[in-house]
Each structure stands twice: as structure tokens, then as C-alpha cells.
Amino acid sequence: MTEKTLRKGNEALAEGAIRAGCRFFAGYPITPQNEVPEYMSANMADAGGAFVQAESEVAAINMVYGAASTGTRSMTSSSSPGVSLKQEGITYLASADLPCLIVNVMRGGPGLGSISGAQGDYFQATRGGGNGDYHVIVLAPNSVEELGNFPKLAFDLAEKYRMPCMILADGILGQMMESMSFNFDPVDPNQLGKFDWAVDINKNGRKKNNVFSYKGDNLIADVVERAKRYGYIEKTEPRFETRQTEDCDVLLVAYGLSSRACMEAVVKGREEGLKVGLFRPITLWPFPSEALRSAAKNAKAVVCVEQSLGQLVQDVKLALNGAKPVYLNAYPAGGQPDGGTILPAVKSALNGGTEGLFDLQRHAEGFSYECKRDASLGVQGDWKGGK
């Protein structure tokens, strides 16, 4: 445990990773996570590790693939469009059973979107954004304190289960400053034992090790065997936090920064006599379904608060399986919730109203759309162009 100091989220994350024994970092500049590679470039060499500014996010994740193959604690960080590029490497890492840390400091999407913090990459993170049947463990911090301490947890889980682990943060969390302390002793990676699967020098007669992603005829057996790990993780590793769920009429569900706004809503709501509680998943995969079911047991309604267009809400509905009405209070593409915007949704969920509740089809009520071609502009085959 260190003294409390004021740190920026991205810098706490980078320092936390080095303290957790990370000794290889590769990344490519993208806002709003640039402080991470900047911090690594300044401090990784002194820690005895390697920092590489890669030519692309694709190269960066593949450098991590190479470094992780040697058993080195390795990581990359990026933001949403960059993490899309990394998906090729992530599915290969999952297939090759390689532990590593991938950080997504989310920004607005789709596409180039905006540089504002957002939560639009929940599906990409939890569903496996690359090809094939696989998962990565996804940790969702909601404070600078957690940003700094989760890299240690991420490496421990990644190595325990031989799989990539992702920290899903967002631009505001990465950019904001808070008082924080590291709650673990620095890890000396030179004192960590070797893995029996890693590639290495000085083999001293041991059998050769191959790290590979092409499974050919063994693919079915390989995927089915790995699924046992996934099932075990779903049973043993869900993490979550609850606030005043015991007597709540409305249970808010939110992760990351949204959950901070929900904490405010819980306090304000209770001041107004509304029995509001909060369930915060800390692991987004494995999703804490069972814990959510018991937290929602006495609630009349569940309201998902997310900075996306209805992603987290799908896992909440799956977990509750129709047992409770589930509503969505959505702030897509960089919108920010606060206590004042959440409480109307809480009231609507209790009294059957619609204020603050987002429903995709209701959103499109009275709306129709059809994009048409217009020959009066000229025709496609006319090389001279239109009028």
C-alpha cells in the first residue's frame, strides 16, 4: 500500500502496470489514451523493460503476441478505433492461449467518432471482437484508484487462465485526476517462475515449445477444451459492487464511469424518498449474472444506465431472464449521465412513464426513412458528371 497521491487516470494505469511487472509495452498514439504510451516511453526502460512505438495498432498487438509468447508480462493500450484494429491480434492471442493485458480507454464511436469518453465498445469487449469462439476477461474500473490497481489483477487473471485480459476504461476516467494509492507490493518480474509453454532460450534439453493459432484437425477439441476454462471462470471470477440494494425498489445497473453518476443518483433519490440501489459489474466478462439476480430480488424494476445505445442492457436481460422489467437510460456516443438525468428514469420505471427511458422502436415512432437515387443529378455511367 502506497501513500495517497493525486494522479491522472492514464498515468495511474501505466504506473500500475509497471508495478505489476509489465516489462513489454507496444502502442500507437490515439486520443484519449496518449498518456499511457508516453508514461511507458519515459519509465519502461528504467524498469528494465521494453517500450516500442509501433507502426500501427495491428503491429502493436502482434508485438504483444510475440512478447507474451516468451512469458513476459506484456501489454498494449489504445482507444476504440485502435482497439478495432487490434481485434485480429486479440483472437490470435486467445487461440494461442497467451496471457496479456489490453487496455481500451473508450471514446465515441462508431468509426472515427469523437475523442470524448464513451462506453460504446461493450459488445466488442464482451462478445469477442475478433473471429471465432473466444472470450477475454474484461475488467471495468470506475475510479483512478481502480485504474492503477487493476493491471495487477489483470495480469494475475490472464496468467492464471492463459488468456488475454482487457481493462475497459473510458476517456474521462483516463483523463481525470483523483487521489489514489497502489494496494499491492511492486512485482519483480525477474523473480516470477517460468511457464512450461513459453518460448525461450537456453532450453537445457527440455522439449521444444510451439505457440500457435492454427489448430486444423484439432480445432474442435481445442475450442471445447478451452470452453471448460470459460465455464470455470464464469463460476468463480465474477466481480461486482453493490450499493443499497437490500431494500431498493429500483435497481440501477451501470459499470465504469456511469456507475459514479449512479452513486450520486442513489443518494439523491433516497433524499427524495426513492428507494434506489446500484449494482456495478466489475467484470463485464464473466458477467456477474447470479449476483445481479440476487441484488434485483426485491426490486420492482431494473434500469440500466450506460453511455451506449443498449449494450450492457442485453446482459442484464439475459441474467434476469424476464424475472424483472428491465429499462434503459442511455447516453450514447459520448453523452454523460448525472444524478439529475438518471432520477427521471427511475421515476418512469416505477410509475410506467417514459421520460428518461430509451426504447429503440419508440425512438423511431412516426419516423420513416428511405435513401433514394436521383437520376436528375446524372447517372452513374455518365463520366462527364451531372448538372
Binding site: F24, A59, G66, A67, N204, F212
Partner: protein, 247 residues
């Protein structure tokens, strides 16, 4: 009885899947001989590509990492930077290195990564069944260039050694062939040099090997060798394009 030649220890005693007449097996052997002769077998970590050599990890006795298409130089970078004592190679074909992996090979050279790249140029995509490669010759027929490569539509073949020679970080660049005993001996010398450079910490070294693909060229092995000599060598002249190893 004196044994004059035998399987190098760095090559495993397993059947290879390569087609009859293919050049991959020859190059594998030259690399394995090099590991034995330089006494680096216990330090070598290889990166196998996507493509015909995807199973190379089963043939070399060293630890191997098989990675994504084109990303060999990035993966090798990660290995080398994590294990600076390792002798790291990336083994890549022409589609892998000169098309999808163009950024990775160029920037590995820019950073002068202390790795060795073995680049097999057979002017065709082999594993996927004979599609046009970035190195396919003008007029050469491929399954995605059924009328032959037309520069108007598909541009010209790319000469990687000449291109990478422009980059300060590249330290050794040689193009060799494995079409004849003489050229195999020269290929061996170049491959050995490229690994010696890594032992000496020289910087980015690459050997481009003109290799025959009888299957996808629809040629018998002898005609394939002839194609290397008469068609490929005029476009891809053999030689050393850069050698800063001594400095």
C-alpha cells in the same frame, strides 16, 4: 564409413508437407545447418507465417511462434525485445511480407530490429491455390489474374530488397535462389551471414530467396527451375543489395 552429410540437428526428423519440387525444404535445411554451425541452436526462436510454411513450427527443433498473416516482423520484434539474447527469425512468403505485411517489414527495417528475415519469393500465393502475389511477374497467369498480370490493372512486381535498401535501418539485404547447387551454396552463405549479423548485434538483416512453386506454376520441377532462371531472375536480379555488417 564416413558420413559426409546428414540431417542437421536443428531440423526435426519428420516428413514435410511441401509439394515435390518446392524450394521451402531446401531453405529450411540451409537455416538448420546455419543454426548448428553457428552453435546458436539453443538460442533460436522462430516465427512461422501464414501460408505454405505455416507448419514450419513442426520442422525446426527450436521453439517457434506461429502468428498472423504479415505480422511476423512485429511478432519477432516482441520476442527479441523481451529476450534480447534470443536469435529471432521471421520466415515469410511474398504475399505475407510484400502485401499484407508491408508495414510490418518496412518498420522492422526502420527500427533496425536485430532480427533475421527469410523471405521466400515464388511470385504466387501457394497455400491458397495460386492467386496473384505482389511479386507475380508481368504477364504471369494466376487464378486472380487469369489473363496474366496486366500493369494497367494490377501494377508491377515489387522488388523488396531494392526497396528496403533505401531504409537506413536495413543492414544486410541479399537476394539468392535455390535453383541450382551453385546457387544453393550461395544461398547458404547469405543465410549464414544474416544470422551471424544477429549474433553480432548488427541490425535488420533479410535474405530474399527466389523459390520454385511447380504446383501453382503448373510446371514440372525441371521447368519450374527454368522459370526461376529465365523469368524471375531478370525481374529479381540476384546479389547483395546492402551489407553494413562489417561496420
Amino acid at each position: 564409413m564416413t558420413i559426409l552429410a546428414q540431417r542437421p540437428k536443428s531440423l526435426l526428423d519428420v516428413p514435410m508437407h511441401y509439394c515435390p519440387g518446392c524450394g521451402h525444404g531446401i531453405v529450411h535445411r540451409l537455416m538448420a545447418e546455419t543454426f548448428d554451425e553457428l552453435n546458436i541452436a539453443d538460442r533460436v526462436i522462430g516465427v512461422a507465417p501464414v501460408g505454405c510454411a505455416v507448419f514450419a513450427d513442426s520442422y525446426f527443433a527450436c521453439d517457434m511462434v506461429q502468428g498472423a498473416h504479415g505480422r511476423g516482423p512485429a511478432i519477432a520484434t516482441g520476442i527479441k525485445r523481451s529476450k534480447p539474447g534470443a536469435i529471432v527469425f521471421s520466415y515469410q512468403g511474398d504475399g505475407d511480407l510484400a502485401s499484407i505485411g508491408m508495414a510490418e517489414i518496412v518498420h522492422a527495417a526502420v527500427r533496425s530490429e536485430k532480427i533475421t528475415v527469410i523471405f521466400i519469393n515464388n511470385a504466387i500465393y501457394g497455400m491458397t491455390g495460386g492467386q496473384m502475389a505482389p511479386t507475380t511477374l508481368v504477364g504471369q497467369v494466376a487464378t486472380t489474374a487469369p489473363k496474366g498480370r496486366d500493369p494497367e490493372l494490377q501494377g508491377w512486381p515489387i522488388n523488396m530488397c531494392e526497396m528496403l535498401a533505401q531504409i537506413t535501418g536495413s543492414k544486410y539485404l541479399a537476394r539468392v535462389a535455390v535453383d541450382s547447387p551453385q546457387n544453393v551454396i550461395k544461398a547458404k552463405q547469405a543465410i549464414k551471414k544474416a544470422f551471424e549479423n544477429q549474433v553480432n548485434g548488427v541490425g535488420f538483416s533479410m535474405v530474399e530467396v527466389l523459390s520454385q512453386c511447380p504446383t501453382n506454376w503448373h510446371a514440372d520441377p525441371m521447368k519450374a527451375l527454368e522459370f526461376v532462371r529465365t523469368k524471375m531472375m531478370p525481374q529479381y536480379p540476384l546479389g547483395v543489395f546492402k551489407d553494413e555488417g562489417a561496420k
